[in-house]
């Protein structure tokens, strides 16, 4: 006979933290950290899928770019998760909750062309950039300077990835006859 494990803390419960941020600060900050955490998880899975399924003449460079991006996003999710846990929150892990919190609609399960993949990634990065700017403003307004600093570090990297994705999508080529 199996028994249900004893729940020590529910997902919505924020426990005290050791760095002197009161609940009036930790509750909104933890909510925002979970939005960013879920969005990074969604972006990680999308880059990973694209890394695995991409094919075609430009395969290798795009395959490598997807790999670098997914590793960067994974490291960022780790930093956000550490901060969220430190402040007394719980990083979401159920797929339904992650989908509810993610700031963009991930690409479907089908395989699409390289350009459509990159367009989906650009939309996701743009949504993430928007979310990070809003959450950095929130962290600043409640006096949580370290979380604001963390968000701004992530923001710089997310904007760099968006630039790179956008450059892949540029209508230019050294190959004669292709559109400029």
């Amino acid at each position: 006979m199996t028994t249900s494990p004893i729940v020590q803390r529910t997902f919505s419960e924020i426990q005290d933290n050791p760095i002197g941020l009161g609940r009036e600060v930790a509750v909104p900050i933890c909510e925002g950290l979970n939005l960013v955490w879920a969005s990074l998880q969604g972006l990680y899975l999308q880059y990973l899928k694209h890394h695995l399924v991409v094919a075609g003449a430009e395969f290798y460079s795009v395959h490598q770019f997807f790999n670098e991006s997914l590793q960067e996003v994974q490291a960022q999710a780790h930093d956000i998760g550490e901060r969220l846990n430190g402040l007394g929150g719980i990083p979401a892990s159920g797929f339904a909750t992650l989908a509810e919190l993610c700031c963009f609609s991930p690409e479907g399960d089908d395989v699409v062309g390289i350009r459509a993949m990159l367009e989906a990634d650009l939309r996701a990065e743009q949504s993430l950039v928007d979310l990070l700017r809003r959450q950095a403003a929130l962290a600043e307004s409640v006096g949580d300077r370290a979380t604001r600093y963390l968000y701004e570090r992530l923001l710089l990297k997310a904007e760099e990835r968006a630039f790179h994705v956008d450059h892949f999508l540029a209508e230019d080529s050294l190959t004669l006859g292709l559109p400029r």
Binding site: E13, V27, P28, Q135
Partner: protein
């Protein structure tokens, strides 16, 4: 208990706002003296008791719910408004 986390009164209005913005909206409503609050992972609620409070809530929500072009259109509209005269019949 912080007013931010206090339970929602039965007569409060629930506001449907973007989840990532609800705390900043809450703080602005609090600055304006409105009774409002959020519960973790739930909605934003506010007490609206007078037309003036309804107008305040509307004006706070507008920047968070309109996109940039919507805000530009609204600003252009404001520039073209005529000055308000509460008693036009008293003019000579």
């Amino acid at each position: 208990m912080s007013p931010t986390l206090c339970p929602q009164p039965e007569t409060a209005h629930l506001l449907q706002v973007p989840r990532c913005d609800r705390w900043r909206i809450l703080y602005r409503l609090q600055e304006l003296g409105l009774i409002c609050g959020c519960a973790p992972t739930e909605h934003l609620w506010v007490m609206i008791r007078t037309p003036a409070e309804a107008l305040l809530v509307h004006s706070v929500l507008r920047p968070f719910t309109l996109n940039r072009s919507g805000l530009v259109n609204w600003l252009d509209h404001c520039w073209s408004l005529q000055p308000y005269d509460p008693c036009p019949c008293l003019e000579p």
